[in-house]
């Protein structure tokens, strides 16, 4: 799976523009098929780590890959979105196509590598190397202000990551190995955990991105080409959540418990603050970027609820957000390709001349809001249900944020799609082409599937969630929610207002 895009990327560099497009599309589709094969042959309830591939030691790190339920789902998300990205840039990118396609294929290699790495340093290598193609994608094919955005993206995320690297070196030295499954069973001293946790937090909070470390995201999104935004929102943002799930929680349970207040507090602020900011945006991409920050905050509160519902919910929100925000960026891309502006006020009344577009856009808007029946609902509900057991106050704030989310998304939709068709150039815009429908429809189908029957997505990770829960249960943070019948099972000790 890693080899195919890598080989194809090299092939792209040496082919014509049209050839590169086809090579990239075929390579990503092969990977998608491989991914589906992986999913169907994944043994639910079997060993924790499956499809392990160990190629021995290479100096300080070893080449070892393998997946568990979390990794499987995120790999699926990556391989699913990749062909979509290639398709989205089929006609929009005309400049240096070969290099563009190669950069995307390398990104795919690195993302799959990040999710499957079984070695601390290998993980870091994939994690960081992803910056290079993304830097080039934003820098070369981005908007007007692309150079500023690409620098900000690169340096901001690099700064977060180097601290994590220091922590990794310490851990490898302490445990004598950089093997992730072994480290997952290692108990680090509580005192050191706090520092390690903070170092990892610095990296993942930037990647995630959590408020107040999110400022790179709107810039990067606005300047990136459509497919760049899709991959950024769809997969790269998930790296932060995956990192929390893979490293912070199971490796430093005590520190996570101690610092839960920090994460929950920042997340609550993020949900409200970014939703309010999104409400006043005049740029469509910026609006969706801010909504991403709000959704990611729901992920973090779910993760740090320290119970099964929260973690499952967080995973579903990640997957759902990966699909929905990717689709929303595509929707923006569709009309951007026609009118070359992202100003909301330049549009209006699209429902009249682009009915099919309006329908799909409506579906994704609803999924983003979290309408029951869509993927967004399942995830947000589970996350908040998990959080409710820990803190009613935080849940209350986050729910308010979701209401605000409905407000800004509907407001966006109304301004773009409804109203009178007053502008001539807007009136001239054709409806979705077959290619665009082929891009958006599968995403809609999966989002709907996830909303109606989330079990397919919950099942592969159920056992891993149980393992994780067992691992962190010894350090469940004291919550401030009142004990209520039926909710008490997840919390051994509950004190009213026991937050330090």
């Amino acid at each position: 799976m890693l080899a195919i895009p890598a080989i194809a990327a090299v092939a792209c560099l040496f082919s014509s523009a049209q050839g590169a497009r086809w090579i990239a599309l075929i390579a990503t589709l092969i990977d998608l098929v491989l991914g589906i094969g992986l999913w169907t042959s994944y043994d639910i309830g079997g060993a924790q780590w499956q499809f392990v591939e160990d190629a021995g030691n290479l100096g300080i790190f070893s080449w070892k890959l393998g997946i568990d339920g979390f990794a499987l789902l995120l790999v699926m998300l990556s391989v699913f979105l990749m062909p979509v990205c290639i398709g989205a840039s089929w006609v929009a990118v005309t400049n240096r196509v070969q290099e563009y396609m190669a950069a995307f294929l390398f990104t795919e290699v690195l993302m799959i590598g990040t999710f499957t790495a079984q070695d601390l340093f290998l993980f870091y290598i994939f994690f960081e190397a992803g910056l290079i193609p993304m830097y080039l994608i934003i820098g070369i094919w981005g908007g007007v202000n692309r150079i500023y955005a690409s620098y900000k993206f690169f340096l901001y995320t690099l700064l977060g990551s180097v601290l994590m690297l220091v922590a990794m070196l310490w851990m490898a030295n302490f445990a004598g190995t950089s093997d992730i499954p072994t480290l997952l069973r290692t108990d680090f001293p509580v005192k050191a955990q706090t520092f390690l946790w903070l170092a990892f937090f610095a990296s993942f909070a930037v990647k995630m991105p959590m408020w107040p470390f999110h400022t790179w995201l709107p810039d990067a999104h606005v300047q990136a080409p459509t497919a760049g935004s899709v991959i950024l929102a769809g997969v790269l943002l998930k790296l932060g959540g995956y990192g929390f799930l893979r490293f912070s929680l199971p490796m430093f349970p005590e520190a996570s418990a101690q610092l839960t207040w920090l994460v929950l507090g920042l997340s609550a602020i993020a949900v409200i603050y970014t939703s309010l900011v999104a409400l006043v945006q005049s740029d469509m991409k910026k609006l969706i970027a801010y909504s991403s920050v709000a959704h990611m905050a729901i992920v973090t509160i779910g993760l740090f609820a320290f119970n099964r519902q929260g973690i499952e919910g967080a995973m579903i929100v990640m997957l759902s957000h990966g699909l929905v925000s990717a689709a929303l960026f595509l929707c923006v891309g569709v009309i951007y390709d026609r009118l070359h502006t992202r100003e909301i006020s330049r549009y209006g009344g699209l429902a009249i001349n682009m009915p099919r577009y309006a329908l799909l856009f409506l579906f994704f808007t609803m999924a983003s809001i979290g309408l029951p029946g869509t993927s967004g609902f399942v995830g947000e509900f589970l996350s908040l249900a998990g959080t409710y057991q820990v803190s009613t106050a935080i849940t209350l704030l986050c729910t308010t944020g979701i209401i605000l989310g409905a407000a800004y998304m509907l407001y966006l939709y109304r301004r773009v799609v409804f109203g009178d068709l007053t502008k001539d150039d807007v009136r001239a815009m054709p409806d979705l082409s077959l290619r665009e429908i082929a891009l958006l429809a599968p995403i809609a189908a999966v989002a709907l599937w996830m909303g109606v029957y989330p079990e397919s997505f919950l099942a592969p990770m159920r056992k891993d969630v149980a393992t994780l829960e067992a691992r962190i249960s010894r350090a469940t943070p004291a919550g401030d929610s009142l004990p209520t019948p039926g909710k008490a099972m997840a919390l051994p000790v509950q004190h009213a207002e026991a937050r330090p």
Partner: protein
């Protein structure tokens, strides 16, 4: 005695080869340049082959004046390799130069310098150290001003000479203090003297010796000559300066620190930590404003020496192994970057050195741009390039030694450094091709030898180089073991 002579076989080959070639050059004149160059490279190859003999395992020679061990051999391989490349790349640069032809003295001087460096890295005595250092430096001063008609080159040579003489003075003063308070110049006996307890005189001697060595390594605060000399010297010479003498100076410092002053680790560690952090931060910040690619690479080399010193600050066997690992990767990265600088020529074949001349390189010369991008990302320490592995190795050593603040500050400062490396990539990949007076830059085609070298080096630094990581790591461990 016989054994001793065998142990310095590489140095003998170099010295005799240099003298013989000098005679050839004196009688043959300009016409012999090509032949002298070829023979000089052969001499370096011969010296490298001689390293497989007792030079790499023999132990003390001449009563301890010189040591033949794996550590010295490892450093010598790097030094000889870099010297050979410095000779190989020269003809084309001078052929297109500003009227100063390549003269046969060039390879001879490089050989003499290599002999000096070879003595430096296997010195077992302060006097050997000093003689080796001076032999290397004197050849280097001449090389810096090799283009006689170019004022910048002359300025570089003079500046290098005056400041180098000052540094030598400082170093000699330190040596005299150490000798005065320990009564010996032999490293092993000095170590005993340091082990016997603190003495103010010995501490002073240590400070001065390290100051002198820091100059040779161009570590902050003794770095000020570096940008000017790098900019002024002919590019092949700069390539040489940035690689071989750097390796020699660092390896020598490691040897002095560990073999002669090992018992005083606590005393020199503060100096090394300061120099390391100052070099990393200063090298990174000062490079941001540079417009000349050679100056930029000069600051980059200051920056990199800082990272190397982090490994030394650990003061452990793993630290020394990390230093050697870093040096290896550094030499390849630096040689590669300078080789690309050598390709930068305008339509008339004149060398250009401004960073903006690289604009749009990815469209005009995609292969060259890709190689440069690999070197830049590697210098910045971004995975999956090998520069990342090298940085991790030195920081790992620092963390194992418990130097956490050093590791954290060093890493954060490396992000500042990433900015200017990134700028070079930006210029090449994002900016439009230069439409300046310089016309179409890089109009001249790349020489197959140089192109091949660039390709091999870029491949070695890219993830393809992972394949060699395990064996390189093993070699550095063996080499580091020789010191402990």
């Amino acid at each position: 005695m016989n054994m001793s002579l065998l142990m310095v076989l590489p140095e003998e080959i170099l010295a005799l080869g240099a003298i013989a070639l000098m005679l050839v050059a004196a009688w043959g004149g300009q016409a012999s340049t090509r032949m002298v160059s070829i023979v000089a490279v052969a001499v370096l190859v011969g010296a490298t082959i001689a390293l497989t003999g007792p030079a790499s395992y023999g132990g003390d020679a001449f009563g301890g004046l010189v040591r033949g061990d794996a550590f010295g051999a490892f450093a010598k391989v790097l030094i000889f390799g870099a010297s050979a490349i410095a000779i190989l790349i020269a003809p084309r640069f001078f052929a297109a130069g500003r009227g100063d032809d390549l003269r046969p003295e060039y390879p001879v001087l490089i050989l003499l310098s290599a002999a000096g460096m070879s003595m430096m890295v296997s010195a077992g005595d302060l006097l050997t150290l000093y003689v080796g250092l001076e032999l290397q430096s004197l050849a280097a001063y001449v090389l810096a001003s090799f283009m006689r008609r170019d004022t910048r080159s002359a300025e570089a040579g003079l500046k290098y000479f005056v400041l180098g003489a000052l540094a030598s003075g400082i170093l000699l003063y330190g040596i005299s203090l150490v000798y005065g308070f320990s009564g010996t110049t032999l490293f092993s006996s000095i170590a005993t003297a340091y082990g016997e307890g603190r003495s103010l005189g010995l501490t002073f001697g240590l400070v001065f010796v390290f100051a002198g060595l820091a100059f040779k390594m161009s570590a902050v605060p003794f770095h000020m000559w570096t940008p000017d000399v790098y900019e002024g010297a002919p590019t092949p010479v700069t390539t040489f300066f940035a690689s071989a003498p750097k390796v020699a100076a660092v390896a020598l410092s490691v040897r002095v620190a560990v073999e002669a002053m090992g018992p005083a680790t606590d005393q020199w560690r503060q100096i090394v930590i300061f120099a390391a952090l100052a070099s990393i931060i200063f090298g990174a910040v000062a490079a941001i404003g540079q417009t000349n690619i050679k100056r930029l690479l000069a600051y980059s080399s200051i920056n990199n020496v800082g990272f190397v010193l982090i490994g030394l600050a650990a003061g452990t066997q793993a630290g020394v192994a990390a230093v050697l690992f870093y040096l290896t990767v550094y030499v390849v990265m630096t040689l590669g970057s300078f080789l690309i600088v050598l390709q930068m020529k305008d339509a008339a074949g004149q060398p250009v050195e401004s960073i903006t001349a690289l604009a749009g390189l990815s469209r005009t010369r995609p292969g060259l741009a890709l190689a440069m991008a690999i070197f830049m990302f590697s210098l910045a320490g971004i995975p999956p390039m090998l520069g990342f592995n090298a940085k991790v190795a030195v920081f790992q050593a620092a963390i194992v030694a418990g130097l956490y603040p050093l590791a954290v500050v060093g890493f954060v400062a490396s992000v500042i450094g990433a900015f200017y490396y990134l700028r070079v990539v930006k210029v090449m990949y994002i900016d439009a091709p230069a439409e300046t007076v310089e016309g179409a830059p890089l109009a001249v085609r790349t020489d197959p030898v140089e192109g091949g070298l660039i390709a091999v080096m870029a491949a070695a630094i890219s993830p393809i180089g992972w394949l060699g990581l395990a064996s390189l790591g093993g070699a550095t461990m063996v080499a580091a073991k020789a010191l402990f």
